[in-house]
C-alpha cells in the first residue's frame, strides 16, 4: 500500500461524504424556505376572524376563510366515504384473492390512474356529474377527490397487506378459520396501522388539489346549504385570492396556504405518531 494510493482513497471517501451531505441539505432547503415564507407572509393574517368569518365582498378588507375551511373538510369527508371502502377492499382483493393475470391488469390500471393529471380528473367528473346536474356541486367535488383516492389507497393497502407474513395466514387457516375471517380478523388487523397510514396520506394528498375542484366544486363566497350547491374549498380560495388584485386578499391567500400546510403537516405527524413502535419484539 503506497502512500499516494492511500491519500487518493481517503480523498474520495471525504468527497463522497461531503457531496451526499450537501445534496441532503439541498433536499430539505425548499421545505424550510416554504415554511419561512408562509410564516413570514401569512402568520400575521392568522386571527380569529380568519377562522370564523366569511369572505368579505370585493374591495373590502377583513373577513376570513371559514367557509373554505369547512368546505375542505366536507369534501374530504365525501372523498373518504368513496375512496376508503373501494380502495381498501380493492387492495384486499389484489393481495388476497384473484388470479395473477387479472391482478396484473388491475395494478396496471391503478398505476396509470395514479399518474393521470388532476385536471383531467376534474374535467371527467365535470362531464359525468356537473353537466347532467346542471350545476357545480360539493358532491361533484367530493366525488372527484374520492375517485382520485381510490387507486392510491388500493395500492398502499395492497402493499401493506403483502407485508403481512404468509405465516400468519397459514397459521389461521390451519386452525380451521374460514378464509374471509382470516383476512378480516388476522391479516387486516395486523396491517391496520399501515392501512390507516395509507388512507391518511391519501387524504393529505387530495386535500391540496386545486385543479379538479375548479371544474366540480367551483367555490362559493358563502355557505353551501346542501351538497348540490357549489362549495368553497381552501385551495380554490387561495387561488382566487392570489390572482386577485387586492393586497388584503393576497394576505389572506398566504394565511390560507399556511393553514393548509399545517393541516397536511398535522396529518403526516399524526401518522408518524400512530405508527410508532410500542412493543419491543424479542428475537
Amino acid at each position: 500500500m503506497t502512500a499516494p494510493n492511500h491519500n487518493w482513497r481517503k480523498f474520495k471517501n471525504v468527497f463522497m461524504q461531503t457531496l451526499t451531505f450537501v445534496c441532503a441539505i439541498l433536499v430539505v432547503t425548499p421545505l424550510l424556505l416554504v415554511f419561512y415564507h408562509l410564516i413570514k407572509e401569512g402568520f400575521s393574517s392568522i386571527n380569529l376572524a380568519f377562522f370564523t368569518q366569511l369572505p368579505k365582498p370585493e374591495g373590502e378588507t377583513g373577513g376570513g376563510m371559514s367557509n373554505a375551511i369547512v368546505g375542505t373538510f366536507v369534501l374530504l369527508a365525501q372523498a373518504a366515504v368513496i375512496g376508503v371502502p373501494v380502495g381498501v377492499l380493492g387492495g384486499v382483493f389484489l393481495s388476497e384473492y384473484g388470479g395473477t393475470k387479472l391482478n396484473w391488469w388491475i395494478r396496471f390500471a391503478a398505476d396509470i390512474l395514479n399518474g393521470v393529471p388532476s385536471i383531467t380528473w376534474g374535467i371527467v367528473v365535470w362531464g359525468l356529474l356537473v353537466v347532467p346536474m346542471h350545476t357545480y356541486s360539493a358532491l361533484a367535488g367530493g366525488v372527484v377527490l374520492g375517485l382520485m383516492m381510490i387507486p392510491l389507497v388500493m395500492r398502499t393497502t395492497e402493499e401493506v397487506l403483502q407485508l403481512v407474513p404468509g405465516g400468519y395466514r397459514e397459521a389461521a387457516l390451519a386452525l380451521g378459520i374460514a378464509k374471509w375471517r382470516t383476512i378480516v380478523q388476522i391479516v387486516i388487523r395486523t396491517a391496520l396501522k399501515g392501512i390507516v397510514t395509507g388512507v391518511l396520506l391519501a387524504l393529505a394528498r387530495v386535500a391540496g388539489e386545486t385543479a379538479p375542484l375548479i371544474f366540480t366544486a367551483l367555490g362559493n363566497e358563502n355557505w353551501a346549504h346542501n351538497l348540490t350547491q357549489p362549495i368553497a374549498a381552501m385551495p380554490l380560495q387561495i387561488f382566487a385570492y392570489a390572482i386577485g388584485p387586492y393586497n388584503d386578499q393576497h394576505r389572506q391567500a398566504w394565511a390560507g396556504a399556511f393553514v393548509l400546510l399545517v393541516l397536511v403537516l398535522s396529518i403526516n405527524i399524526g401518522v408518524r405518531f400512530l405508527t410508532r413502535d410500542r412493543f419491543q419484539q424479542k428475537v
Binding site: 400468519y168 397459521a171 389461521a172 390451519a174 380451521g176 378459520i177 388487523r189 395486523t190 412493543f279 424479542k282
Partner: protein
C-alpha cells in the same frame, strides 16, 4: 408398519398419494398408515417431499393454485378430500404447527390461544378460560404465563412462542397434530422442551412430525418414515429404522452417506 387396509389402529390411512406442482411431482404414489396416539416422524434430505406430504394431510395445498392432488387420505375412516367435506372441517380435526413460530402479533397470549375457538363462534367466557388453561398446561407453558395472559404474545421468547402456537393448535381439540420441523428454529434447551412435550402429548393425540434432525426422530418418535425424492422408501418402528433399516437407501441416509 405395513400398509394394512384393515389396520384399525391407524388414525390416517394414505393410499397412492401424489402431489403435483404444475408438471412436477413432489410426492409420488405414497401409501402409509399413521398409527393413532403415537408419534410418527418423517425424515429425509431436503427436497424429498416430506413437508409437501405433511401439508397434503390437512389440505394446505389448496392455497396454491398450481397444486394438484391424486390419491386418498382417510382420517379414522373419513375421506378428507371428499367433495362433501369442507377444508375448514378437516383443519379443525387436523391441526398444524409450523417451523417458524407465528403467534398473531396484535393479540395477547389469551387471545392467541383462543383465536381458533372465538373465530369459529365460541363466546362462552368460562369455556374459553378453561380451554386456555387446559391447552397451555398441555403445552407446558401454563406456569410461565398464567399471571400474564393479557400480555402481548410477541413478548414471549422464541421457545415460549412455539409452545404458545402448540397450545393454540391444541385449543381447537384436534385429533391429529401435524408439526413441520417445530424445533428447527430453537436453541437446544427449547428444543428439548418441545421434544418432551411431544412425547407427553401422544397419549391423547396422534402426532406426525417432519424433521431433518435424525436424533430428534430417534428420541421423540415411535415410528419413522424415510422419504427420498418424493417416494416413501421405508417405514417402521423407530428403533428398527435407526439400528437396522431394511433398505440400503435408508441405511445410507441414516449413516450420513448423503443428505
Amino acid at each position: 408398519m405395513a400398509t394394512d387396509p384393515n389396520n384399525s389402529a391407524a388414525a390416517l390411512t394414505v393410499r397412492n398419494l401424489s402431489v403435483f406442482f404444475g408438471k412436477n411431482a413432489a410426492v409420488k404414489n405414497v401409501s402409509l398408515d399413521i398409527t393413532a396416539k403415537a408419534v410418527t416422524a418423517i425424515i429425509g434430505p431436503s427436497g424429498c417431499g416430506k413437508s409437501t406430504f405433511l401439508r397434503a394431510i390437512n389440505r394446505m395445498h389448496e392455497l396454491n393454485p398450481d397444486a394438484r392432488m391424486e390419491g386418498e387420505i382417510k382420517l379414522f375412516g373419513d375421506d378428507i378430500y371428499s367433495r362433501t367435506v369442507e377444508s375448514v372441517t378437516v383443519r379443525r380435526r387436523i391441526g398444524m404447527v409450523f417451523q417458524k413460530s407465528n403467534p398473531f402479533p396484535t393479540m395477547s397470549i389469551f387471545e392467541n390461544v383462543t383465536v381458533g375457538l372465538r373465530l369459529n363462534g365460541m363466546r362462552d367466557r368460562k369455556m374459553l378460560a378453561e380451554r386456555t388453561e387446559e391447552s397451555l398446561r398441555m403445552a407446558a407453558l401454563w406456569d410461565e404465563v398464567k399471571d400474564r395472559l393479557n400480555a402481548p404474545a410477541i413478548s414471549l421468547s422464541g421457545g415460549q412462542q412455539q409452545r404458545l402456537c402448540i397450545a393454540r393448535a391444541l385449543a381447537v381439540q384436534p385429533e391429529v397434530l401435524l408439526m413441520d420441523e417445530p424445533a428447527s428454529a430453537l436453541d437446544p434447551l427449547a428444543t428439548a422442551k418441545i421434544e418432551d412435550l411431544i412425547v407427553s402429548l401422544k397419549k391423547d393425540y396422534t402426532i406426525v412430525i417432519v424433521t431433518h434432525n435424525m436424533q430428534q426422530a430417534a428420541r421423540a418418535s415411535d415410528f419413522t418414515a424415510f422419504f427420498y425424492l418424493g417416494e416413501l422408501v421405508e417405514c417402521g418402528p423407530t428403533p428398527k429404522i435407526f439400528t437396522s433399516p431394511a433398505q440400503k437407501r435408508t441405511e445410507d441416509y441414516v449413516t450420513g452417506r448423503f443428505g
